[in-house]
């Protein structure tokens, strides 16, 4: 199926070449029929052959097809070597069309698509030029401009002229103007390529350079030819320049070929190198450097997919990264391994369209990548653990300072005042017994106040009720103290190690406070259960909820996560605007494996993993 179109094009090229040879050899007006025949074949066969090769190599881009088509177009143009006026005129017109095609190829190399505005603008200008200043003249001129390499002697007249005589405007104004504009168009195209060269990665430069060289040749020869032909048509060098201009076309095709072959060579050597060297790169950073060098893109990034973590993409050091989406300067290529998505290469625009190559790169380094994902996953979790530890330590310090402040400002000050009052009371008693006794009784209630204050403080550190009776009782007491309706239910809940009960108690307390302060809830329910796996708590409120995108952060919630993580547990938050909030946590208890209590991803994370 795929063989047939290319075969058909090749056949057509061969047929046209044979026709061109026949036409050239039988043309009485040509002074060098053999040379004309050879040049015609070169004009048709070389672009067609290179086009078919490029088409076969990279079927997903249109460049090859277009180059081959241009070759066939030159086949039509070679009819200009015929003595028959109709064929000759057709050939002359085809020259113009083929010129635009050549310009298009030049601007769209190597993908075959005009990607940017400057290229599209120049091509549009060229098309407009031909449509306005070239094609209409086919209806009015008596003879096409000569000499041309095919008929340097007498060229046949224009067979498509509809008017009887040629307006002087054509020779005087239109032809010089259009020659000038043609030169300008090619000059602009050259300028664009030079700019592309300057901005290109070293890799791209290698493929663009031969094309640039051929284009310079084309521009030079066609400019000189047009100039000389318009100014002094009889000069001998016009003929030579004409041949040169014609020769520049197959040379351009060869320039394209050189660029394509060079790229293939480069791909092959890069892949070879990668396959050999990737296995030795133990460090993710080294692998990234190797791939960046192989693809000639120093800005290349390598990201690893670690499932089960929030924002699953990480860089080589285990830090979370965001993949660029809709960024015109960066492209992302996902590498998929046996277990699904493994990694992604974020690369520069210059490599856009070379998906096959990057895919091969990915495949070459896949096994190394898979190994390094484990390293990266480990680093990521170590990093998380470190940060969590640091936060816990900081929170503990803050707590200590708070206690110290509370003690100093509260209980201590009260005791000072109390002490002074006692002294005063003693003085008063020695003077006036009744007043002193009243004062002493008043002091008694001050002592009660201090006791309450110290009790509250102690509860903040570790509630005696929790220590004596366990989670259910302590949480019931906390629910009673809460300013809104709060209920507590417990299933199979017994006693657990101090740090487990403490972690769960304070998480529930924090959730309770959040619901009271922020959620504007009317009622809260706290549920404990040890049906397994692990000891689970849940605090649900009917408040305003929070939501939108992803898991919410806030220092209180982070604190809860850290507290649970410190005893091997995990936190889960379900909330939606208007639907209340449920905060759930789970802690492993004795006898269960500590590792990997999984938390179901929230809505936000599911959205992020869509590609």
């Amino acid at each position: 199926m795929r063989l047939a179109p290319r075969f058909a094009v090749g056949l057509a090229a061969a047929v046209l070449s044979a026709t061109a040879v026949a036409v050239s050899l039988s043309n009485p007006a040509s002074s060098e029929p053999a040379l004309a025949a050879i040049f015609s074949v070169a004009l048709i066969a070389i672009p067609a052959a290179v086009g078919i090769y490029a088409w076969a190599r990279n079927p997903e881009i249109p460049f090859g097809k277009m180059l081959a088509a241009t070759g066939l177009l030159w086949g039509l143009a070679s009819f200009a070597g015929s003595g028959n006026p109709e064929l000759y005129s057709l050939g002359r017109i085809s020259h113009w069309i083929a010129e635009i095609a050549l310009l298009y190829l030049f601007l769209s190399y190597p993908t075959g698509r005009l990607e940017r505005r400057p290229e599209r603008a120049v091509f549009a200008a060229a098309a407009l030029l031909v449509a306005i200043l070239y094609l209409p003249t086919a209806l009015v001129v008596e003879r096409y401009p000569s000499p041309i390499p095919w008929c340097d002697g007498g060229c046949p007249p224009n067979a498509f002229a509809v008017t009887g005589s040629e307006p002087g405007l054509i020779d005087g104004a239109v032809i010089p103007v259009r020659s000038l504009l043609t030169t300008l168009v090619w000059l602009s195209a050259l300028g664009i390529l030079a700019l592309r060269l300057r901005q290109a990665t070293p890799l791209m430069r290698r493929t663009l350079l031969p094309v640039l060289g051929a284009a310079v040749l084309r521009l030079g020869s066609i400019t000189a030819y047009l100039l000389l032909r318009d100014l002094s048509p009889g000069a001998g060098s016009v003929e030579a320049l004409g041949w040169l201009a014609m020769l520049s076309i197959p040379i351009m095709a060869l320039g394209f070929l050189l660029g394509l072959l060079d790229w293939r060579l480069y791909e092959a050597s890069a892949l070879q190198r990668l396959t050999v060297e990737a296995a030795a790169k133990g460090e993710p950073r080294e692998l990234r450097a190797l791939i960046a060098e192989a693809l000639g893109d120093p800005s290349l990034e390598l990201c690893y997919w670690i499932p089960g973590t929030p924002g699953a993409w990480h860089d080589a050091d285990g830090r979370r990264v965001e993949l660029p989406e809709d960024d015109p300067e960066r492209c992302v290529f996902a590498i998929t391994g046996g277990n699904g998505r493994a990694a992604a290469i974020v690369h520069d625009n210059a490599l856009r369209g070379h998906d096959a190559f990057i895919g091969a790169v990915g495949a070459a380094v896949l096994s190394t990548l898979e190994n390094q994902r484990l390293t990266t996953a480990l680093r990521a979790s170590l990093r998380d653990a470190e940060e969590s530890r640091a936060r816990i330590a900081a929170a503990a310090d803050e707590e200590r300072e708070r206690i110290e402040r509370d003690l100093h400002d509260g209980a201590q000050q009260q005791l000072v005042t109390l002490r002074i009052n006692l002294e005063l009371a003693a003085e008063l008693i020695s003077e006036n017994g009744g007043v002193g006794a009243r004062r002493l009784r008043g002091l008694g209630s001050e002592v009660d106040g201090v006791l309450d204050e110290i009790r509250a403080l102690a509860r903040g550190i570790y509630p005696p009720l929790l220590a004596d009776s366990g989670l259910e009782e302590a949480l019931r007491a906390a629910a009673l103290r809460a300013p809104l309706r709060a209920s507590v239910s417990a299933t199979d809940v017994g006693r657990y190690p101090r740090k487990v009960e403490s972690a769960i108690y304070f998480c529930c307390l924090e959730a309770l406070q959040n619901a009271t302060k922020h959620a504007r809830a009317r009622s809260i329910s706290i549920n404990l259960s040890d049906v397994g796996p692990g000891l689970q708590f849940e605090v649900c409120d009917d408040g305003v909820g929070f939501g939108g995108n992803g898991t919410p952060t806030g220092s209180g919630l982070t604190h809860m996560r850290d507290r649970l993580a410190a005893v091997g547990g995990a936190l889960e938050i379900c909330s939606a605007p208007g639907k209340g909030t449920a905060i759930r946590g789970r802690v492993p208890v004795a006898g269960e494996s500590v590792a990997l209590i999984q938390v179901r991803p929230s809505r936000g994370e599911a959205a992020a993993s869509r590609w």
Partner: protein
């Protein structure tokens, strides 16, 4: 001495200012001139009020009690300036001794007996 000993108390804790006022009032021979909660206020009032005894808390937020004591003593060396502290006097910085204050006492020891002692020998007690 003629008249009552007029006492200015400087402390950022309002409950203490209240109880100090009561103690001073209940002590014969003493009268509370004013209670202020910052060193700046105390310095501003020193001239107009002319207290015979000034009690200053060492630990105050904006201006340290030690600094206030130093300035008051410089301006009016004949009047008594006593530093009061809620921490153990042994844990106070050395500048407490060099600032010129007449004495350093514990807050909780404030009472009629202490006031009398301070005034009697112009500042016995925990003499620096």
């Amino acid at each position: 001495m003629q008249g009552n000993v007029r006492v200015l108390t400087v402390d950022d804790h309002l409950p203490f200012l209240r109880v100090a006022h009561e103690v001073i009032e209940a002590t014969p021979g003493f009268e509370p001139a004013r209670e202020v909660s910052s060193g700046a206020e105390a310095l501003a009032l020193a001239d107009t009020l002319d207290p015979d005894l000034t009690l200053i808390d060492v630990n105050m937020p904006e201006m340290s009690g030690i600094e206030v004591a130093r300035r008051l003593k410089q301006a009016r060396p004949a009047k008594l300036v006593v530093l009061i502290s809620s921490t153990d006097p042994g844990e106070l910085p050395p500048s407490v001794r060099t600032c010129g204050a007449d004495a350093v006492v514990r807050k909780q020891d404030l009472g009629p007996a202490l006031l009398r002692r301070l005034v009697r020998a112009g500042g016995p007690g925990e003499n620096p």
